[in-house]
């Protein structure tokens, strides 16, 4: 697999080597070798069941929480294997934020406490720091103006799109290095989707973003790099425009021209 010219010599933020994952008897991922560049948006695209969600769930060690889950191979974050025997998954997850397919704010917490939930876990008690982080994160997620007067309301009282931005703010508040997004817009209407997509392109200044999507338009709108997964294998990786215009693999071409998927 040849690296796109723009990435030669770039130190990858995330690199997987022979990453396999699955459940007891079946592999969902069959050995993924990929280099994710820092401060860029990388889209993982492919038909249902191709393993794209499992892939990102391996990157913050969430996959292993499912009963019967197995993982093999390496996943290097800044060159350090997060699957090393001595690595603490809790420490890994503190450096890697995640936004899920369906917005999942904590319904028994206020908007404010949803945002600072991660900081509270880290033991932060300083009210000034928490207030500052809450405002910064909500501004970062373009939600501040809509919620600043009702920070004490339940996180569940917001609309679906607002809830998803609240979840993004919650992920931002702990200042992760990487943000994983698992089809973050699939439960949202077009207006909310547009807001989230705009937000993603803003966030890459400070974060490395990996976004799972089965929406090709979305990939072409937000992603700098795109990879195509099929049946648990990575078929192709390249600059987004390049991959869509000149796919090198026949499978990729058939997928993006809508012949299957």
């Amino acid at each position: 697999m040849s690296l796109p010219a723009s990435l030669i010599g770039v130190q990858p933020k995330f690199e997987t080597k022979g990453l396999k994952a699955g459940f007891k008897s079946t592999w969902v991922l069959n050995g993924i070798d990929i280099k994710i560049p820092p401060n860029r948006v990388t889209a993982v695209m492919g038909p249902s069941g191709c393993g794209k969600t499992t892939f990102v769930r391996c990157l913050n060690r969430l996959h292993e929480l499912t009963p019967g889950a197995v993982v093999e191979g390496e996943a290097l974050l800044d060159g350090e294997d997060i699957y090393d025997r001595n690595t603490d998954p809790v420490a890994v997850r503190r450096r890697i934020g995640m936004v899920f397919q369906k917005p999942n704010p904590f319904p028994t917490m206020s908007i404010y406490h949803n945002v600072v939930a991660g900081l509270a876990l880290n033991g932060e008690r300083n009210k000034k720091k928490l207030d500052h982080a809450a405002e910064q994160s909500l501004r970062g997620a373009y939600l501040w103006d809509e919620v600043k007067d009702k920070l004490t309301d339940s996180g569940a009282s917001l609309s679906g799109g607002q809830q998803q931005r609240l979840c993004i703010a919650r992920a931002l508040a702990v200042e992760p290095e990487v943000i994983l997004m698992d089809e973050p817009c699939s439960a949202l209407d077009p207006t909310a989707t547009a807001k989230i997509e705009e937000l993603i392109t803003q966030l890459k200044k400070d974060y490395t973003i990996i976004i799972v999507t089965h929406n090709m338009q979305q990939a072409s709108r937000v992603a700098d790099y795109t990879t195509f997964f099929y049946l648990g294998k990575m078929i192709e990786f390249g600059e987004t425009a390049d991959l869509f215009e000149n796919p090198k693999e026949e499978l990729t071409e058939r997928y993006i021209t809508g012949k299957f998927g």
Binding site: N60, L62, R93, F100, N104, M109, G118, T152
Partner: protein, 317 residues
């Protein structure tokens, strides 16, 4: 051909009518039963209500020679034994539920086997708990637990008495054992119903297993767990047979947790054979009425609390 809108399968058809009648009758029947019970208890105890008034609940004498019947000691006994049962049973029951739903997930078969075992505890007849309590638990409490409590906590009035084994504390322990299966079985179902997305949200923020349980799972399930607790409390308040074996059946006001006492239910079962005149009979029915009202008040309070818990959408910042 278009199908007629005035078909034969209208909502007034036989099946619907029968269903409506049957379920409606069942619902009304339950309400009627409850009201009937209340009326019957009130009219049956009228003589006692007239004679003792509020003193029935506030007074401490139960004496058939002087024809004075008051139930304050039994009310205290019921509340104390039930509170003890909750205090001891809730942490354990909830702990079992958390283990079954959160920790034992990887081993489905093991968890479900353990789960049914816990539920089996709920099916053991209470007379067996009572007999076991008298034969095994009470001597154990008398010889080991209570002397220790007296030595270290005897300076408080609560534990300042000669250990005898058959007392309020032992009754509380027996009740705790009996309500654990109820609390754990219901709580486990509640915890299993917490969506995994809530757990994953907390994990992805860098939470440990314990933090996920404490900050994501338990808050989400709180009103359900509260319901499970009330169910357990209801069982503790109403339990008769097991308690009467180990509580010591003393109708005077207990001075400590190590003193023998009585509950409303054990008072009824123990005095049932001693009613020779209309007044003592009415007094015993009034004990039932007090128990009935106590259960009603607990349930109403629980409803209000759950309602307030789920309705409150504003939080402190």
């Amino acid at each position: 051909m278009t199908a007629s809108l005035k078909g034969s399968r209208r909502s007034g058809s036989n099946g619907d009518l029968i269903l409506k009648t049957v379920v409606g009758a069942a619902a009304i029947g339950i309400v009627a039963l409850l009201i009937g019970l209340g009326i019957e208890l009130t009219s049956g105890s009228w003589l006692s209500i007239k004679t003792f008034g509020l003193g029935f609940i506030t007074g401490s004498t139960w004496n058939s020679v002087t024809d004075t019947y008051n139930v304050f000691p039994a009310v205290i006994g019921t509340l104390t034994a039930s509170a003890l049962a909750l205090l001891l049973g809730l942490p354990i029951g909830l702990g079992v539920a958390i283990f079954l739903s959160e920790r034992a997930k990887g081993m489905r078969a093991g968890a479900s086997a353990l789960g049914s075992l816990v539920e089996l505890l709920a099916a053991v007849p209470s007379v067996i708990y009572g007999f076991w309590g008298l034969a095994v638990l009470a001597p154990f409490m008398r010889d080991y637990i209570e002397p220790t409590l007296k030595t270290y906590l005897g300076f408080t009035q609560l534990f300042n008495a000669t250990p005898i084994g058959t007392d309020l504390l032992t009754a509380g322990v027996i009740l705790a054992i009996m309500i654990i299966p109820t609390i754990s079985a219901v709580s486990r179902d509640i915890l299993n119903a917490v969506p995994d997305s809530q757990r994953e949200a907390m994990y992805s923020l860098g939470a440990t297993d314990w933090e996920v349980v404490r900050k994501a799972v338990l808050p989400y399930a709180r009103s359900g767990i509260f319901g499970a607790t009330i169910l357990g409390l209801g069982r503790a308040v109403g339990e008769t047979m097991a308690v009467t074996f180990v509580i010591g059946n003393n109708i005077n006001l207990p001075k400590s947790l190590l003193s023998p006492g009585a509950t409303l239910t054990t008072l009824i079962v123990n005095q049932f054979g001693n009613t020779f005149d209309p007044l003592s009979e009415a007094a015993l029915v009034e004990v039932g009425l007090v128990l009935f009202l106590l259960a009603l008040v607990i349930n109403i309070l629980a409803r209000v609390l759950v309602w307030r818990m789920t309705r409150s959408t504003r939080f402190r910042v």
